[in-house]
Amino acid sequence: MTGKDMILSEEELDGLLDAAGVPEIPWGAEQRLMVRVASESLNNVVPFPQRAKPAPAGVWRWQMPAALAASLMLGIWLGTQGPVSNAVAAATESAMLGSDSDFGPAGIDEIGSFDADNAT
């Protein structure tokens, strides 16, 4: 056998390459891949933040809103009546007109004659 005989021709090499092993696809490989895909999908889910727990039911649940609502209504009513002093004067006048006696309601005179300097 000469050195030249030892070297394969292109056709001979192709023949040997054709004899090389052919891989067998492992049974269930695609299914195993899809299992991993499914698990990766689950792992990538970002949970939404939990909702805040609702306040406990009961009488005290309405305490603060009721106080705020009452305050608001009082504010609106006072706003429509003008200054508070006017409201007091109007209430006094109506009380005087409605009374048959020569004297106003108890205490009204005293308010008018009140002398701060002599107060003890």
Partner: protein, 205 residues
């Protein structure tokens, strides 16, 4: 449990309406996390990817893991592919890069086929059979440099044209032909006189 469930579900998913859809439609659906569409892509290209991985890794036991990794990268970001027609090439390129990266860090040592090819002491005539020829050729291919191995795999084993193989490897056709020529010359030198013995063994078988 999960595997059993997937084995039952996968054929149903793959045979749904997605089965006839184009790669572009399937990629778009995969980007919307539709697993049934991705399952069709897997059934279309898994074998191609696995064969290339097996060939470049020299039949390593990690071939399945590496093929899986390539598909999982696609599943993680299907939108990274600009053109659906480049899908197969992209998968093969990612898979072959994964093989090269993995075995650059950990050289191929535990190959079943990695016996000494150059040692012709044991006559091929004595060893006999196509199985021996097959194993010897696998071992010889495994010893080629990665890029040469990849070029040979695409053109000879995957039956691609030089143009397609060059496109998949992102190199010029001239560069691909150079890699092929060097791969074939390397194989001839590696086999040496054993090559003709292998041919005789094949003829006998």
């Amino acid at each position: 449990m999960g595997a059993v469930l997937a084995i039952r579900i996968l054929p149903v998913l793959a045979s749904s309406n997605w089965g006839t859809a184009s790669d572009a439609v399937l990629l778009d659906a995969s980007a919307r996390r539709v697993q049934a569409a991705f399952a069709v892509l897997v059934s279309r290209y898994y074998k191609d990817v696995y064969r290339v991985v097996w060939r470049i890794s020299g039949g390593h036991a990690d071939s399945e893991d590496i093929a899986q990794e390539a598909f999982l990268r696609l599943w993680a970001k299907p939108e990274q592919l600009r053109e659906a027609k480049a899908l197969k090439g992209w998968l093969l390129r990612v898979a072959s890069n994964l093989v090269m990266d993995r075995f650059r860090k950990k050289p191929l040592q535990d190959l079943d086929t990695a016996f000494d090819v150059v040692d012709g002491a044991a006559s091929a005539d004595e060893q006999m059979g196509l199985a021996y020829v097959s194993k010897t050729m696998d071992a010889a291919i495994a010893q080629l440099p990665d890029r040469q191995k990849l070029a040979l795999t695409f053109v000879h084993f995957e039956q691609m044209t030089n143009i397609a193989a060059a496109a998949h490897m992102e190199i010029s056709v001239d560069a691909l032909e150079s890699l092929l020529a060097r791969a074939r010359r390397g194989l001839k030198e590696c086999l040496g006189p054993q090559g003709t013995q292998l041919l005789r063994a094949m003829e006998k078988d």
